[in-house]
Assembly symmetry: C2
Homo-oligomer: 378 residues x 2
């Protein structure tokens, strides 16, 4: 009995050190894992990125950016964040760290920006700034979605750097402007590729074309909130929300049309035959899709040492399902899907990242938003 009491009090002390982390052990097909809630002191966190120091930068939708340590210490709001339109799906969205951060201290944030001219429209914008101890300085808007449009929905966005140093920005169709996804004179429903200073790479597919915005990399997307670079091919993979069913993984190639809204796997839940086309000439089929929707947020290719059986797998986080879909890949081909953590995570998962420690980190979309660390069970 004494031994048992002692064990309990030691466990309690360790738990306090880890800022009251709640841990749950979960069995999966290949690994037994521990799902640890590191903190629940985040207010609707949206995006996160690891700094070379091993700390996280975490955005909160309301417009605050914080440093968070891997044992759950949450900083005060950092200064220098531009004002954002925190309304419906809009707000402060993703954050990315420059591949050369050690040299240049640049970070990138995406957000819903009001019309500087005073109109009611908004668009997704991206700012580059220097990160100092207290916050952001030298902020410069390097991308501004066009046109400004009055809608609270479908801003995207995710920021990822290609191996060649270009920045991909994934965008949404702004919902009621969905038809814009098929025309090239706007940024709605596009993936955009720019240089980190905001200039347009000369080899972008629509540079010099009439009636086409030169930042566009690919089009026909709905609302792309997940993106990752394949670790061996170096290619961009994206995941987007479908309308009602039809969440899609794509491997966007330069200049290609991914179909929305003229081709979709979205379905009617009354069971009737769908009139929507799934195959339309000139559009690319999804690489993989979900019906019904799991409401995909971000995704990563897992490359760490902590979960050897998951190396090379694509881990896709889901808002609706509160789970992570593990896609076992052979080359690019999906061989198998496993649903992970659905009973252990109780909130919508908004972002997923791999830590420098090889653990997997999740943040959840809640006013008591959590940072969750996934590690091998003892």
């Amino acid at each position: 009995m004494l031994r048992k009491l002692l064990a309990v009090s030691i466990t309690a002390a360790l738990a306090l050190n880890a800022t009251n982390a709640a841990a749950e052990t979960v069995s999966t097909e290949r690994h037994k894992v521990s799902v640890n809630t590191i903190t629940d002191k985040l207010n609707k966190p949206w995006g996160m990125a690891f700094l070379p120091s091993g700390e996280l930068l975490v955005t909160e939708k309301s417009g605050t950016l914080r440093r968070v340590t891997r044992d759950g210490a949450v900083s005060d709001a950092l200064s220098g964040v531009p004002s954002v339109v925190d309304k419906s799906q809009g707000g402060l969205l993703d954050v990315a760290v420059d591949p050369n951060f050690a040299d240049n201290q640049f970070v990138y944030i995406s957000y819903s920006e009001a019309d500087p001219a005073g109109g009611e429209g908004t668009s997704t914008a991206v700012m580059r700034a220097k990160l100092s101890d207290n916050g952001l300085t030298d902020g410069k808007v390097i991308f501004r979605g066009a046109p400004k449009y009055k809608s609270g929905a479908h801003f995207g966005s995710r920021l990822v750097f290609a191996p060649d140093g270009h920045l991909f920005i994934t965008l949404g169709d702004r919902y009621s402007a969905m038809d814009d996804a098929q025309t090239l004179d706007n940024h709605h429903g596009k993936v955009v590729r720019i240089k980190p200073d905001g200039s347009v790479p000369a080899d972008n597919p629509f540079v010099g074309k009439d009636d086409a915005l030169p930042e566009i990399w690919s089009y026909g997307h709905r609302n792309v909130q997940g993106a990752a670079i394949h670790p061996t091919t170096g290619k961009l993979w994206t995941v987007e929300h479908g309308p009602k069913g039809g969440d899609e993984i794509n491997i966007p190639d330069a200049g290609k049309n991914y179909g929305w809204p003229i081709a979709t796997y979205g379905v009617d839940y009354d069971g009737s035959i769908i009139s929507d086309e799934t195959h339309v000439e000139g559009t690319v089929q999804p690489h993989y899709y979900w019906v019904p929707s799991i409401a995909t947020s971000n995704m990563i290719f897992y490359t760490g040492d902590q979960f050897p059986a998951w190396q090379g797998d694509l881990l896709v986080a889901a808002l609706k399902g509160s789970h992570v879909a593990r896609l076992d890949l052979e080359g690019d081909r999906v061989m198998h899907e496993e649903t992970l953590f659905e009973d252990a995570v109780k909130q919508r998962i908004r972002d997923i990242e791999q830590g420098p420690d090889g653990y997997i980190y999740l943040i959840t979309d809640d006013r008591a938003g959590q940072l969750i660390q996934i590690k091998p069970a003892e």
Copy 2:
């Protein structure tokens, strides 16, 4: 009220015409379908094949072969079926109709054969015979699995003709002889390729090799009970049962090793990390796999006009799940899996075929075994 009564009695009359078929309407992602039980007068049916007349040949595991019409009339047992070892998983198994049946009246049956020398071992054998009005004549055993082995399990088998006229026979590892799947001096855990007269094609991969049986096409399989030819590539696809999880679709290439039992995705359900390897040098990864097992029986590529949205899809029947897994393919790649009919079919599905009418036909593994017809709902 009169109108309602009239409607009811008309519906009842139609149902009687269709030999008391029980019909259920089911909504799926792309089509609303009617699931009709045509008959439940089959005793543990195992395999079926359509004759050019539009009638079915159906095997029953106990050793009977019957003609069944698409409105559910079941014939008496046909004569001329060889004696089979109807024990555990063994018995009369698959049936196939010669591509040139109109000219030669040949049909093929696979079955568990006793040792002609009187030993306790069994193996899968294949007989070719002529089909006359009353039964089979001129039967000739064109394949005999080696060695005879004492086990009641894992006989395979499925019979499919390649576009070039060769016959593929899929086999099992006989369970306790699983290690044999990795050596070429036996037929356990192999896919075999022969000519319709039983002779060995000169271009089989192991012809002329020492210690290798010349009928072997591919090896390292566990228990292959499903096979189909891809309608555009002409390639053989197979589906096999995994141990506990790890049911696999493969696209067996000549001479290749598909891993069993040295590489498998089978899992322990106690949640511990699996020691079994999934990747072993010299073995081919599955094209697609299921964990946990759905217990795959047969599969078809759907090519009919009745379900336009399913054209080109791979439909895999499941014993355990009592469902059909629809795999939406783009080229060979699986883009999406849908589970069909799971609430409408109450029995294990043992075989699936496409009818000359473009409808989908299922038989179920039960002593009151059903023939089920899937057609578009009105």
